[in-house]
Amino acid sequence: MPRKEIDLPYRVDHLSILDEEGKLDSSIEPLIPDEVLLKIHRTMILARRFDERMLILQRQGRIGTFAPIKGQEAQIGAAAVLEPDDWLVPSFREMPAELWRGKKMESILLLYGGYNEGGYVPEAVNNLPVAIPVGSQTLHAAGLAYAIKYRKQRQIAMTFFGDGATSEGDFHEAMNFSAVFQVPVVFVIQNNHWAISVPRSRQTHSKTLAQKALAYDMPGLQVDGNDVLAVYAGAKEAAERARAGGGPSLIECVTYRMSMHTTADDPKKYRTEEEVEAWIKRDPITRFQKYLTAKGLLTDDTIAAVDAEVQSEIKAAEERWAQQVEKALDPLDMFAHAFAEMPPHLLAQKEELRQELAGRKKAE
C-alpha cells in the first residue's frame, strides 16, 4: 500500500488510417458511403478554393482580416459525423466544417466584408456564429449538450478550437463541466501547431494535447488531422459514445496551418519555410484524392470537374454577396438586434444618428 501506482481508466491512443502517401490501413478503414466520400472531397476542394479566393479579395481590400484555413480541410471528417440537427460550435477557423454544415459563402463574405448582417444564422442550421475569444465557445457547447440531455434528445454538440485554446481556463472548465455532467459533447482540437507565433511545444509542456482528457477521466484520442478518414473515424467513435449516453470525448487532430494566422500576420517572422514545406507534403486533400482514385471514385478528369464546379459556385456566391451588400447599406441597422425590444435610450441614440446622417448628407 505505501507507494503504489494508481490505475487510471483511460490510455491515450494515436490513430492514423491513410498515411502521407495515401496508403491505407484497410483493417480500420471506416465504412463511409461513396456519395458521402465524394461530398467530403468536394467540400474540401470548395473550402480550399474559397479560402484562396478570400485571400485575393482581402488583398484587393474587398474584405477585411480573416483567418485562412488552408491545410485544415480534413476537419470536415469530424463535421461529417454530425446529424443535421446536431450543434456545431466553431472558433474562427472552421470555414470548411461550416460549409459542410450549410453555411453560405455569401454570408461569410458579408461577415469578413465588415457587415453585421454576415453573422446571421438561418433558422434551420444549428451552427453557432464564429467565436473569436479563444476557447470561450467550448463552454457553450457544454451547456448546449446539457440542455440536450435535459430535453432527452438524441443530438450532440461538437466544438472546434485550436491548440492555443487548450491553454485558456475556459477550455478546462468546459472539459470539467462536461465530464461531471456526462453530457453529449465532442471536443475537437485543431492542433495546427501554431497559435499565431507560438509553437505547440511552447503552448503547453505535455507531449500530446489528447492526454489532457486524462485530467477529467474523459476518453482522449489523437488522430492524424490531415487524414480525413482518421478524423472521421475518431469523431464517429466519440459521437456514437455521446449519443449512447457515454458522455464527452476529446479528439486532438494533428494538422497544420499552411497559411498565415490571419491576413494581418507574417509567419516568416517566426517559422521556417522548411517546416511549411514538410507539411505541404502531408496535404489532406492530395492523400484523400489518392485514396478516392484508388477506390475508383475519382479520376483526374472528375477531379478537374469538381474544381470547375466549385469555382463557379464561388462566383455565384460572390454575386449574391454583392446583392446583399447593396441591401445592407443602412448604417442605422447597427442598432438592430441589441435587445429583443429596443429600450428608450437606444431609440434616442438611433434617432441621434439618423439626424446626424441626414445632416451630413445635407452638408455634402
Binding site: 453573422g119 438561418p122 456564429p129 435535459y150 481556463g169 475556459d170 463541466f177 437606444l346
Partner: protein, 326 residues
C-alpha cells in the same frame, strides 16, 4: 399574502417560475442541497430535482458559459454567482457572448439568462464579499442590470428577469436579504425592467438611490422632514440599466435639487450617469450642484469600518442640507 424576507421572496419567485416553466434551470455553486449560501435556492432541489437545480463545479466562467449554452438551446438558466465579488471571473463570457449573441447572430439566437449575485456590504463579511460593482455591467452594451430593494420588488423583478428575452444581471443586496419583512402576494406579480419608482413624494429635493442604500435614504428623508421640515422625494431606480431617466428627470424639474446615493465607489460609478442624464435633460431646472453620496474610491474596508465606508443617514442628511443651503 405573507410577510417575507427578501430571501424568501426570491425563493418564492424561483419556485413559481420553475413550476410554471420547465425551461427554467437553476445552477451555481451550492445551490442544490445547501440551498445557496444565503438560502435563496432553498428547497428547489427537493421539488425539481438535481437535473434542474444544479450544483456546479467551482468555476464562475464555467457557470456563465454553460448557462449561455443552455440559453442558446432555448432554456432559461438562472445562474448564481456566490458573491458578486467573484463575478469578474465570468466577465468575458457575459461581455463577449451573453450580451452579444442575439446581435452577433442577427436575431437567430438569444441568451435569456439571469445571472444572480448577492452584492454590497453591511453583513460583516470577509474580503470580496461586500463589493458593489454594478457599474461594470451597466456599462456593458447588451446587458440589463437590476437591483431590487425590498422583498416584494425583488420577487417581481426576478420573475421579470427570468422572462426577459435577454440577459439580465440581477444583484441582490445582502444587507436587505433578512433585514425586514414585507407583504408579498402569493399570486404572481411582475415589475417591468427599466422602470424606476417614487417611493416617497416630496417637493424640496430629489433623492435617488437603489438597493441597500435606498433604506438609509428613506430614513434620511424622514429625519429631514421631522427635524428640518424638508420634504424629500425619494426615487428607487430598481433597474440600473437601461436607466429610466424620465422619472427622476421629472422629479428634478420639480424640486431643482438632487442627491444620488449608492454604496459603489464614487468615481465612474452609477451616480455619475444619473448626474450626466440630469445635466442633459433638466439643466435649466437645477438650482444646486448634484451631490453624490457614495462609497469611497477604495476597497471597502473589513467589517469593523464598513459602516464608516457605507453611506448612512448622517451622510445623506448632511448632503441634502448642504444642497439646500447652496
Amino acid at each position: 399574502m405573507a410577510k417575507m424576507t427578501m430571501v424568501q421572496a426570491l425563493n418564492l419567485a424561483l419556485h413559481q417560475e420553475m413550476e410554471k416553466d420547465d425551461r427554467v434551470i437553476v445552477l451555481g455553486e451550492d445551490v442544490g442541497l445547501d440551498g445557496g449560501v444565503f438560502r435563496v435556492t432553498d428547497g428547489l432541489i427537493h421539488k425539481f430535482g438535481a437535473e434542474r437545480v444544479i450544483d456546479t463545479p467551482l468555476a464562475e466562467s464555467g457557470i456563465a458559459g454553460f448557462s449561455i449554452g443552455m440559453a442558446l438551446y432555448g432554456l432559461r438558466p438562472v445562474c448564481e454567482m456566490q458573491f458578486s465579488g467573484f463575478d469578474y471571473f465570468a466577465m468575458h463570457q457575459m461581455e463577449s457572448h451573453a450580451a452579444r449573441l442575439r446581435w452577433r447572430s442577427q436575431g437567430r439566437f438569444s441568451v435569456p439568462m439571469v445571472l444572480r449575485a448577492p452584492c454590497g456590504g453591511g453583513v460583516r463579511a470577509l474580503e470580496h464579499h461586500s463589493e458593489s460593482r454594478e457599474a461594470y455591467w451597466a456599462h456593458t452594451p447588451g446587458l440589463k442590470m437590476v437591483i431590487p430593494s425590498s422583498p416584494r420588488n425583488a420577487r417581481s423583478l426576478l420573475i421579470s428577469a427570468i422572462r426577459d428575452p435577454d440577459p439580465v444581471v440581477f444583484y441582490e443586496p445582502k444587507a436587505v436579504y433578512r433585514a425586514f419583512r414585507e407583504e408579498v402576494p402569493e399570486d404572481e406579480e411582475t415589475l417591468p425592467i427599466g422602470t424606476s419608482q417614487i417611493v416617497r413624494e416630496g417637493k424640496d429635493i430629489t433623492l435617488i438611490s437603489y438597493g441597500a442604500t435606498l433604506h438609509p435614504t428613506i430614513e434620511a428623508a424622514s429625519e429631514l422632514k421631522e427635524k428640518h421640515g424638508i420634504e424629500a422625494e425619494v426615487i428607487d431606480l430598481l433597474t440600473i440599466s437601461p436607466l429610466d431617466d424620465e422619472l427622476f428627470t421629472a422629479s428634478a424639474r420639480k424640486t431643482g435639487r438632487v442627491v444620488v446615493v449608492h454604496e459603489a465607489p464614487r468615481s465612474f460609478g452609477p451616480g455619475a450617469e444619473v448626474v450626466a442624464r440630469l445635466v442633459e435633460k433638466a439643466f435649466l431646472y437645477l438650482e444646486a450642484p448634484i451631490r453624490r453620496v457614495t462609497g469611497f474610491d477604495i476597497v471597502i474596508p473589513l467589517f469593523q469600518r464598513e459602516q464608516e465606508y457605507l453611506p448612512g443617514v448622517y451622510r445623506i442628511v448632511q448632503a441634502v442640507r448642504e444642497t439646500l443651503n447652496f
